[in-house]
């Protein structure tokens, strides 16, 4: 037993030493270089480039442009992973019931009052992070997680009974989550459908006009850059994330009476 632990410790120390040696030798390239890598320079120079629209995403923020435009398909599947994990958690606890009137009273009146003050602030800050994702640091996922904190506060401070009373039931949250995912899917094929209808060439996950396709999402809204699909992706993603995280938290916070039956009928139970 002790020898086994020692062996693991020595091998991990060896791994750390070898990794450090490789980094010191320059195996990861020059560290903190003065010159930017070519691909990074290309992203930075084309992120908002009205003089070369076919390579641009017309958004001011490079990270959101990479996440939702240049590597949009990756991010779509990443959102799917999040969705599948939420479905997995709900499946682990399959058969749970949402009971009302179990006597949850929440925390004291002082905490409740200060939380009531916080609720609009968190909501506005989260929505602004999500909606301005193509202009300032942030985006749909960050804004959605921000707003999910509000829902967690609601459940912890005001009790689960209160959350159910206010309509935060898991079926409704799952419906909002699915609507967000369908919104992302529709946004990604919007220009393709428009191209098929109009008889013009178009691509999946197309944002601005590309080579061989003149179709384009709107790049400006009134006096602000819009980033085309980026704005829509951020809004739908924040919807999906806030409802998905809230659903998971509610399932994990279920009381003993609500999951007992689910655990008793599970076939994995001996």
């Amino acid at each position: 037993m002790k020898a086994r632990e020692l062996l693991i410790a020595i091998s991990i120390a060896l791994m750390v030493l070898l990794l450090a040696y490789v980094i010191e030798l320059g195996g990861l390239g020059p560290l903190a270089p003065y010159a930017l890598r070519d691909i990074a320079r290309a992203y930075l120079e084309y992120v908002y480039n009205p003089w070369n629209v076919t390579a641009s995403s017309m958004a001011l923020e490079a990270v959101t442009a990479i996440v939702w435009d240049y590597r949009g398909l990756d991010t779509y599947f990443e959102t799917s992973v999040l969705f599948v994990a939420i479905v997995g958690v709900a499946t682990l606890y399959r058969g749970y019931r949402e009971l009302r009137g179990l006597g949850g009273v929440g925390l004291s009146e002082i905490v409740k009052t200060s939380t009531r003050v916080l609720i609009p602030l968190i909501l506005v800050a989260g929505a602004s992070i999500a909606i301005h994702g193509h202009l300032t640091p942030g985006g749909g996922f960050q804004g959605g997680s921000f707003m999910a904190v509000l829902m967690v506060l609601l459940v912890v401070v005001f009790s689960l009974d209160y959350a159910f009373e206010k309509g935060l039931t898991s079926s409704r949250l799952l419906a909002i989550r699915s609507a967000g995912l369908v919104g992302i899917l529709l946004t990604s094929v919007a220009l393709l459908i428009a191209g098929v209808v109009a008889g013009a060439g178009a691509y999946v996950f197309q944002n601005m006009a590309r080579e061989g396709s003149d179709l384009s999402m709107p790049s400006w809204f009134l006096d602000r850059p819009l980033g085309g699909t980026l704005f829509l992706f951020n809004v739908f993603e924040s919807l999906a994330v806030v409802s998905g995280l809230t659903l998971t938290f509610i399932v994990l916070a279920l009381r003993k009476e609500e999951v007992d039956q689910a655990l008793a009928t599970g076939e994995w139970c001996e």
Binding site: I23, L92, T248, C269
Partner: protein, 137 residues
């Protein structure tokens, strides 16, 4: 100037290597700790260390100044402004990849939390030995 630059390189390497050490310690926690909750905490430290490491790899230096974030603060009026932006901003690609990694990590954590809670409700403990019907000794 050269002295300051050397000192910067040294400290940057120290930060990177300490992150590698952090990764090793977190791996040790995942392998050795018998409690599933502690394994879970070690796993979060492991992934956070790797994410910080990837972010640090995207750092670059700018002569005479600090590098800026990869966000245009105003609508550019010419190609020269874009050139200037690309000479003064950090690499946005590791940040985008780490954002993806964080989201997928969060999905895995949520699933693991649900599993660990079920394990505790079934066996009354979070020790991994419980599933074998006894301790390993």
């Amino acid at each position: 100037m050269s002295g300051v630059s050397d000192y910067f390189s040294l400290m940057f390497t120290v930060v990177l290597l300490s992150l590698v050490v952090n990764i090793g310690i977190a791996l040790y926690g995942i392998f050795i700790k018998p409690s599933l909750v502690k394994k879970f905490i070690a796993l979060t430290i492991f992934s956070d260390s790797i994410n910080s490491f990837a972010i640090a790899l995207g750092f670059r230096r700018v002569t005479g100044s600090y590098p800026g974030v990869a966000v245009l603060s105003d609508v550019p009026r010419g190609v020269e402004e874009l050139r200037h932006f690309s000479t003064a901003s950090v690499d946005p690609l590791p940040q985008a990849l780490v954002l993806t990694a964080i989201v997928i990590g969060l999905a895995v954590y949520m699933f693991l939390t649900g599993l660990i809670m079920l394990y505790y409700r079934h066996y009354g403990t979070t020790r991994v030995d419980a599933a074998r019907g006894g301790s390993r000794e």
